[in-house]
Symmetry: C2
Subunit: 227 residues, 2 copies
């Protein structure tokens, strides 16, 4: 792998949620690689991070190039572009890399509403991702329930639990990422198949955002776990 | 309807979660009707409520009789008995009654684990219930995510949000019930179809209870909604 072992790549890092994570990780001092289909958009997003986090170690690259630069690759793509994008990246991945799926199969992918999901043959977007990455690449799901606007608002913590699902050894580095963002708490979300519940929870939360008029988005906390 | 218009009927009120709700509603001063397949078990449960809540207005009856005694009928049955029980009660319901589904299609119904669900043809247990009640009977889903042990522990509040899903007019009296239990907060859970997400969330929470060793059960809160 060409990149820094501390680096975090975010494909689709030009969208609100990906850019929000990029800002938070950069502010925590981690090198960030923003990937996009278009180099120019990736570079723009990187410049936006530097403008908001002076001194940030961030670079914008095309998705394939970004994928090669970090041991952790977060997918922050619209669900409907996830499969096609992954198929185009098969040469870019290396065994041992961890891919983080934050995709949610919202029904917007088929022109229906954002407060609903569509069924995914593999069970969840995360399992779809797992079916498409090259052998030896590990998949973990996380961050599906974290509101983009809350991530972007660097002056406030993000009051949200993050359910991290996947194989135990693979979950650990992803759970550690959550500690970089004030307010986020990583929870052991069990096996990757649980992503189907976590993903659908996002649709429920989008419905709450609409019904309670929360343009910034709600978060979720589980109670009774101690601190 | 034969009963008190303030009464709350709980079918399957001899199980932990139903009994927990019975205790809480009785303590809040509401008349409670506990239903069971067997009269004797219903009477035992009613006696248990009176023992813990002196002066409680509670009675134990067979399910069909209990159904006739209250405008609100909460179903606290194991999922696998829900359909058969409802089919046997078609004569007991009256148009205008509200049935509250708290059923979760846990995979235990087919001998698999409690941290997973099985698919329900109608979309959710609540929609299955809606397909089986007589015309004019309204169905709302609620309380699926509330831990039985927390309800039973009368000395402490239950730190949990309750997503109440159904038609707007029908949701209101069910949301009002939540105010009877310290700690519970009712949230507008949107249309009944959303129950499929809320139900699956229970399976996720059961998994958290196992992984984090929480015999009393966790709860869920949504953040960013104001108070």
């Amino acid at each position: 792998m060409a990149g820094n072992s501390d680096a975090i790549a975010i494909l689709g890092g030009t969208g609100d949620q990906g850019l929000g994570l990029a800002l938070r990780f950069a502010r925590a001092g981690r090198p960030v690689v923003i990937g996009s289909r278009k180099l120019e958009r990736a570079e723009q997003a990187a410049a936006e991070v530097v403008a908001k986090v002076p001194g940030a170690d961030v670079v914008g690259l095309e998705n394939a190039e970004a994928t090669k630069r970090a041991p952790l690759v977060i997918l922050s793509l619209p669900f409907e572009h996830t499969a096609a994008t992954l198929k185009g990246l098969s040469e870019a991945f290396e065994p041992g890399q961890i891919v983080v799926s934050m995709a949610v199969p919202l029904a917007t992918a088929v022109g229906d509403g954002a407060a609903r999901t569509i069924g995914v043959w593999q069970g969840s977007a995360a399992e779809l991702v797992a079916s498409l990455v090259p052998e030896g690449v590990r998949v973990v799901s996380a961050f599906q329930n974290v509101a983009a606007h809350r991530l972007m608002d660097l002056d406030h913590p993000v009051e949200c639990d993050v359910l991290v699902s996947g194989a135990p050894k693979d979950r650990e580095p992803v759970m550690a990422l959550c500690a970089l963002v004030p307010g986020l708490r990583a929870l052991n979300g069990g096996p990757l198949g649980n992503a189907r519940i976590v993903e659908s929870l996002t649709a429920l939360m989008i419905g709450l955002n609409v019904r309670y008029k929360l343009p910034e988005g709600c978060g979720v906390r589980f109670t009774g776990l101690g601190d």
